[in-house]
């Protein structure tokens, strides 16, 4: 792109969309230890539902709600058999599920345009008379308001007794079930919420980019999202978003880097190779990610103030 | 001549020391027994020798060489054989293959018939999968597997646990035979009296500490052995 500002804005929009994917994976993996390697599949589903519905002239709000609904239902359905599996089996199932879904989309031209994909997807907000740059800014506003909503939902989820149970499942499933929690039920719920968020991200992506095809949803997408969570810090929602920014930034930078240095490298290859090396390095030297999980009582809970008082009163009673 | 000398060993897993301040000597060509009720840390002593635990302090000297913290593979190559209490055979391999893997470190070729002289019971089972053996047979195979490498020191972890009295007698007589071949044995057992029959020396462990030790006769004569053993007297 010629205009560097446009390039930057585009990167910011991408980071926002991937930020949603990243916090949804963080909810699944970081808090509940569900290794979902099928992120790209749900992302793709959301995008395609939006694209198809947009072709039928439905407004974005309907499309995105439908995307959320269908991806969450499919998420719940696939999780029924998959979540009883061990981590590695779950990973294999989810990664291959993504491939099968792509297969369907590539082959069913009547439904999803086959390998050519779908173009002309209407964007969510159309205000007549805006320049391209202004439209981009409107898009960013939309994406980031949804990102912020998702962030708060995730923060809310993990900072309730419900979130505490998710962490218990992550730490030790047997303890969770011995202390009366139906582990399977919680896993399904988390998977459903995670899938819904991925679907929403896909929906945003489709309306933002306008044209989609199956090749945009290669397993690299899943990997990039994993990269964001692992780099940013599992079990830290801010970390996940930070990770999204960093990975997007690194990818864009490597493209610029290539342009300016005139490296004889294809930008996509450079990007992927660099991301792969980075993720391996992070796993080696900082497996807990850049922002560590904060192990502390929740923010803003009145108890923080009460607890020391409680101690005082107790010791006072004992003394008297 | 001491083949094994453990001094002031404190070891365990992760952050929990299971055994504390254990001192054990095994003389060349003798059988030493580690006795104690469950949870007393007998297995942990053997696992520490074999390099499977975290050692907090103390030293282990084998054949004049300090082996504290050495890798399991290296220890096996130095002539220490180990029979764990559970999972002590390769279940998916046949009896013959188990023996061949046991002989992995041997430079010279193994003649299966050599070991079958000591364990004639295994002769007819050679081509059976270890998984299909009965408990007694499997225990014999486990010991045979450990012996084919021609070890200098054999570590046995509760070889008679969950065996019938008949099989227990067979296993114990094998241990006697092993000793007669000049191999030193360190055996962890709950079965006190039967073990003392075959051992030269014994250490009684309760709750991770050695509460008494001495020659087998001394231990047997101890009137309070029963109460001592249950940790009721110190």
């Amino acid at each position: 792109m010629a205009d560097p500002l446009m390039y930057l804005l585009d990167a910011v929009a991408y980071a926002g969309i991937f930020g949603i994917l990243s916090i949804s994976l963080n909810l699944e993996y970081g808090y509940t230890n569900l290794a979902n390697f099928g992120k790209a599949a749900f992302f793709m589903m959301g995008a395609y539902i939006t694209a198809i519905m947009s072709g039928l002239k439905y407004p974005f709000i309907v499309n995105s709600l439908l995307a959320i609904l269908i991806t969450s239902v499919i998420g719940a359905l696939t999780s029924l058999p998959a979540l009883r599996l061990k981590e590695d089996f779950l990973a294999i199932t989810m990664i291959t599920l993504g491939e099968v879904m792509k297969l369907i989309i590539k082959n069913e031209e009547w439904l999803a345009g086959g390998v050519w994909g779908i173009s002309g997807i209407a964007s969510a907000i159309t205000i007549p008379g805006l320049t391209f740059r202004e439209r981009l800014i409107v898009q960013i506003a939309l994406i980031y308001s949804i990102l912020i909503v998702c962030y708060f939902i995730c923060e809310l989820i993990v900072k309730t007794p419900y979130g505490r149970i998710l962490k218990t499942i992550r730490e030790d499933e047997i303890v969770a079930s011995t202390y009366g929690k139906n582990v399977f039920k919680y896993k399904i719920q988390v998977f459903t919420v995670g899938s819904a968020m991925s679907g929403l991200a896909g929906s945003l992506f489709a309306q933002y980019i306008g044209t989609i095809n199956p090749y945009m949803f290669e397993p690299t997408v899943t990997f990039v999202v994993w990269m964001m969570v692992i780099l940013g810090g599992p079990a830290n929602n801010l970390g996940a978003i930070l990770g999204a920014f960093m990975v997007e930034g690194i990818q864009r930078a490597s493209r610029l880097f290539k342009d300016y240095l005139n490296l004889p490298l294809d930008p996509v290859n450079l990007q992927v190779m660099f991301t792969a090396i980075l993720v391996i390095t992070v796993i080696f030297y900082r497996p807990q990610g850049l922002l560590k999980e904060k192990i502390k009582p929740y923010e803003g809970s009145p108890h923080k103030i009460i607890a020391p008082k409680f101690m005082e009163v107790k010791s006072w009673i004992r003394r008297s | 001549m001491k083949i094994l000398e453990i001094s002031n060993l404190t070891a365990g897993y992760w952050r929990l020391p299971v055994i504390e301040d254990i001192c054990i000597d095994v003389n060349d060509g003798t059988v030493a027994a580690l006795l104690g009720p469950n949870g007393s840390g007998k297995s942990t002593v053997l696992k520490s020798i074999m390099g499977f635990t975290k050692i907090f302090k103390g030293s282990i000297v084998y054949d004049g060489i300090v082996i504290t913290g050495a890798s399991t593979t290296k220890l096996a190559r130095m002539g220490i054989s180990y029979v764990p209490q559970i999972n002590n055979v390769f279940r998916s391999l046949t009896v013959k293959e188990n023996l061949e893997v046991g002989a992995y470190t041997r430079k010279n070729d193994l003649s299966i018939s050599e070991i079958l002289e000591v364990f004639p019971e295994l002769r007819t089972l050679l081509n059976n999968k270890a998984d299909s053996l009965s408990g007694g047979e499997r225990q014999l195979l486990a010991i045979a597997r450990a012996l084919v490498s021609n070890p200098k020191l054999l570590l046995l972890d509760e070889p008679t646990a969950s065996l019938s009295p008949k099989n227990t007698a067979i296993v114990l007589s094998k241990i006697r035979e092993i000793k007669s071949r000049g191999i030193s044995v360190l055996i962890a057992e709950q079965n006190v009296l039967k073990t003392l029959e075959i051992s030269d020396k014994a250490y009684v462990l309760v709750s991770g500490r050695c509460i008494t030790s001495g020659s087998s006769e001394e231990i047997l004569k101890n009137e309070n052995l029963g109460r001592l053993y249950l940790g009721l007297k110190r």
Binding site: N33, W226, V268, M273, A276, F284 | F90, Y104
Partner: protein, 295 residues
């Protein structure tokens, strides 16, 4: 009229190809206890190396294949030595191992794309067709059949008759006891990883020669390799043998049915997915599960 004999022949040949592609994955999974997603890229790597030596450098075919296979083995061994072994010794979690293996896979694939370009390549060998009775085949397919059978037989000898092979099986069965028997786990793992990658590379050459060479060559059979690994039981060589032929047969019969139903033959990979999911639900330990007895 469907020539069922032809379908059977195709099934066997596909089974052979899948067997070569999968053996390494299954063995390394059984030994190191995590699925190596980079395995698919060993397949691609072998094919590109063969392309390099055979088409670009114009070497003799046997020499070219030999070099390509050895280089695949080298890559497999290297990835164990430089990546997975240190990660395991640092106590990396299963998820971290899987993510790194995916990362390694992308690294290899995009390295190849960078070096050779992303386009479709061809070995430019035209295979004449041979008719044996009602069966039509090519020398390449016959070669695949023969090579796979020879390799399967050699693997059988390796695993059951040699000291090293028994050590591999023993380690997969019970690593602690294997170490206590004096087996050097690192050496055994290194060998297994290299061998597995070499066979994957071999299968890649065949896959590419049969159709064409693309960067996604290996990834396209990822689904099949995992279905076979799980169906056969992780770490079981004979399981892989049987499962490969089951999959080969179901795919080829499936294609016949798909065409009959008027669906795209591309859906053949979905058959592998169905087998995979069915295995995981009905019998997660696989047909011949022995290697993985974790209590």
């Amino acid at each position: 009229m469907i020539n069922w004999l032809q379908v059977l022949t195709n099934s066997i040949i596909w089974g052979c190809m899948y067997m070569l592609a999968t053996v390494g994955l299954s063995l390394s999974y059984g030994l190191s206890r995590f699925p190596n997603f980079a395995h698919a890229e060993y397949i691609t790597f072998g094919a590109y190396m063969a392309f390099l030596f055979l088409v670009m450098l114009n070497l003799d075919i046997y020499l070219a294949v030999g070099l390509a296979v050895s280089l695949s083995a080298f890559i497999g061994g290297l990835s164990y030595l430089l990546l997975f072994k240190p990660l395991k010794s640092r106590g990396a979690s299963l998820v971290h191992l899987m993510v790194s293996s995916i990362g390694l896979g992308f690294l290899i694939r995009h390295f190849l794309m960078q070096t050779f370009g992303g386009g479709i390549k061809s070995f430019r060998i035209v295979w004449p067709t041979i008719s044996i009775g009602p069966i039509v085949t090519t020398p390449l397919l016959l070669a695949i059949l023969i090579v796979a059978l020879v390799i399967a037989f050699m693997l059988h000898i390796l695993l059951t008759k040699t000291k090293l092979g028994k050590a591999i099986r023993a380690t997969a069965d019970n690593p602690e006891l294997a170490a206590a028997s004096g087996i050097d786990l690192n050496k055994v793992s290194l060998f297994t990883w290299s061998l597995g990658a070499a066979l994957a590379g071999f299968s890649g050459i065949f896959l590419a020669m049969r159709s064409s060479l693309v960067p996604l060559l290996g990834w396209k059979v990822l689904l099949q390799t995992f279905a076979i690994t799980l169906l056969g039981g992780i770490g079981s060589f004979y399981g892989v043998l049987i499962a490969s032929f089951i999959l080969g047969l179901s795919e080829n019969v499936g294609v016949v049915i798909l065409t009959w139903l008027g669906l795209s033959a591309d859906y053949r990979s979905a058959i592998a997915f169905i087998i995979l999911v069915a295995t995981l639900i009905l019998k997660p330990e696989g047909l011949m599960a022995v290697a993985r007895r974790r209590v």
